[in-house]
């Protein structure tokens, strides 16, 4: 077991009338990509901002390399917020140089431009970048101090699918450099692809934690059958099936596909629109909370 680089202990964050984070604890070993997965408003961003030292918790603490967050943490942490504006009238290279100057040690700016595919944009005004280009610049800024731990708060929200995939490839290459990454997302595909371990957060609490595949194995025996809700007659609701009713579909989990299909045919459920697929993290969230992840 690797020593934890970050430890989160009994975090509590309360605002008037709202408990945003309600007793969250976990630890992250060095070199791991740890994901906080949950719907909007679950408490992911509040948790990560407390971990970044931006927010003060009502109770609980965060320790970096066994010590409370301090000078060393600020020097060694890289952060990509959900939304950040940069100074006007500065080019990509000048923006990087400004942040480079804030740290005692840093990566070479040309090397960063290359890593984040920004070489061709180096002299462009940062206000004239596309969403994906700006996000790559913000990632380059987060890496400017060659951080030991990198925080990515919903890094691909708002990006088009192509830009999102490019960004995943970029994060994958950073992962390969053995950086510790803390990632929040509500894209289960992103979490499954990038994270070694995830914590599913709902209403300020962790409701499940582990490696994505292990969690899926633990909660889903085999496969998942998906039918449009309109195709599932009321009479079939009494069938002995492990079933979840989502907004527009019915999901049936089974470890005996043949028997389940026979049951459905026997109940005259139309199977024309039936889809059989392995369970994913979105299904897991639905299973655990009865609600959809993106609700």
């Amino acid at each position: 077991m690797r020593a934890p680089i970050l430890e989160v202990r009994d975090l509590l964050k309360q605002y008037p009338g709202v408990t945003a984070v309600n007793g969250i604890s976990f630890s992250v070993p060095e070199g791991m990509c740890f994901g906080l997965l949950g719907p909007n408003g679950a408490g992911k961003t509040t948790t990560i901002e407390i971990m970044e030292g931006i927010l003060t918790p009502t109770a609980g603490e965060v320790r970096y390399r066994g010590e409370p967050l301090g000078e060393r943490f600020r020097e060694e942490a890289g952060i990509l917020f959900q939304a950040t504006a940069l100074q006007n009238f500065l080019t990509v290279r000048q923006s990087l140089a400004m942040f480079h100057g804030l740290y005692a040690h840093g990566r070479d700016i040309d090397e960063l431009l290359k890593l984040c595919s920004l070489e061709a944009l180096a002299e462009r005004d940062n206000r004239k970048l596309s969403g994906g280009q700006l996000q790559r610049l913000l990632l380059a800024i987060a890496l400017v101090n060659d951080p030991a731990v990198l925080f990515l708060d919903e890094p691909t929200t708002g990006l088009d699918p192509q830009a999102r995939r490019n960004f995943w490839a970029l994060i994958d290459s950073i992962k390969a450099q053995r950086k510790t990454i803390i990632l929040t997302t509500h894209y289960m595909e992103e979490a499954e692809l990038l994270c070694d371990e995830i914590a599913i957060v709902d209403r300020g609490r962790i409701i499940a934690q582990g490696a994505p595949r292990a969690l899926l194995r633990e909660h889903f025996a085999a496969v998942l059958l998906e039918l449009p809700r309109a195709d599932f007659p009321d009479g079939a609701r009494k069938l002995p099936l492990q079933r979840i009713d989502a907004d527009d579909r019915v999901e049936i989990t089974t470890d005996d596909l043949d028997a389940t299909l026979r049951t459905l045919i026997g109940a005259e459920v139309p199977l024309k629109n039936l889809r059989i697929r392995p369970a994913n993290l979105e299904d897991l969230f639905l299973e655990l909370t009865g609600r959809e992840l993106r609700a």
């Binding site: 931006i54 917020f81 950040t84 804030l102 740290y103």
Partner: protein, 334 residues
């Protein structure tokens, strides 16, 4: 179309009403200006002429001249102090009661000329002692005021709005996630704005001085020191206003609340000599007044550092107090 217009109208009204700080200042600013101006310039008609009286002014009150309406009589501690004021046209005439009374008048002062006529009409035997010394043309007198006012606006709005924009856009929050301290951030803002101000003010000085054929009577190096301290005090004030707030309209209101009194009471446009004592106390407390006083003394009368030391010390203190308060109350995020 009307429905859409009403929808946006309603939402904007709610936004305005719920931004309580802005609402208060929208009401408070014009009210405070009216009340303040009423106190300063209201009341009975103001005297048209100012006469300094040396010595026991009270004993001379029986003289006919002292009953002249619209002439304000001000006691001056000594003849030398009174002459200083006459030369600068802060008073129109200096009178030493006696038999016969003696008076000093600035031969270059139009108001001095009229005041002299009034005195001689009341007492034809009064003994005239003309004052030598160049009178200050209004444009020369105004020049330091314009420069100082430009420094004030540039510092207060330039710094205040920039910090506010950084906070609103989340740029400050991003900086907070780095090893940068609030003190370092604020110091960088101060130094950046100070450099800009010095370059701009030097340029303006050279252009305007050439245009109006102005030559500073005092040291340019001392003038530079005054500008540095004056600008620092204004930047510190701007940073204090912008240290916490995230509402553009509120910060705008607060900046206006600071700039209006300074613009009117610091003597940019007209001298406040002769206004009520409490107005002069308020005016003296404003950093622009001290900045302008020091600048005028050096530019117009060639004062040395000793003569303006109190103003310089005051500006330095104001800077330290407001910078300290700004750093202490500084908020990185909304």
């Amino acid at each position: 179309m009307m429905r859409r217009l009403l929808s946006v109208w309603h939402a904007r009204n709610l936004e305005f009403i719920r931004d309580r700080g802005t609402l208060v200042f929208t009401l408070l600013l014009p009210l405070s200006i009216i009340v303040g101006m009423g106190f300063i310039f209201g009341g009975p008609p103001r005297p048209l002429f100012k006469v300094g009286v040396v010595g026991s002014a009270a004993a001379a009150r029986a003289d006919a001249f002292f009953h002249t309406r619209y002439v304000q009589f001000l006691a001056v501690p000594s003849t030398a102090a009174g002459l200083h004021e006459v030369r600068r046209q802060r008073i129109d005439l200096l009178l030493a009661p006696g038999t016969p009374p003696r008076y000093w008048v600035n031969t270059d002062s139009p108001k001095g000329y009229i005041t002299e006529k009034l005195l001689l009409a009341a007492d034809p035997h009064a003994q005239r002692l003309p004052v030598s010394g160049k009178a200050v043309p209004y444009l020369d007198w105004l020049f330091p005021g314009i420069l100082a006012m430009n420094v004030m606006f540039s510092c207060l709005f330039g710094v205040g709005y920039v910090v506010l924009r950084y906070r609103q856009s989340g740029f400050l929050k991003r900086l907070h996630a780095t090893p940068l301290s609030a003190f370092e951030f604020l110091s960088a803002q101060v130094l950046s704005r100070l450099g800009i101000i010095l370059i701009v003010t030097t340029g303006l000085y050279l252009v305007i001085a050439t245009m109006i054929h102005f030559h500073s009577a005092g040291s340019i190096a001392l003038l530079l020191l005054i500008t540095v301290l004056g600008a620092l005090s204004m930047i510190a004030l701007g940073l204090t206003v912008a240290a916490r707030f995230a509402s553009e309209e509120l910060v705008n209101g607060l900046l206006n609340l600071l700039t209006w009194p300074m613009m009117l009471l610091s003597g940019v446009w007209f001298s406040l000599a002769g206004s009520p004592k409490w107005v002069q106390w308020v005016a003296d407390a404003l950093p622009l007044t001290q900045f302008l006083h020091a600048a005028r003394e050096v530019m117009l009368y060639g004062a040395g550092i000793g003569a303006i030391a109190p103003s310089l010390i005051y500006l330095a203190l104001v800077t330290l107090v407001f910078l300290g308060f700004g750093a202490w109350s500084f908020k990185w995020r909304i």
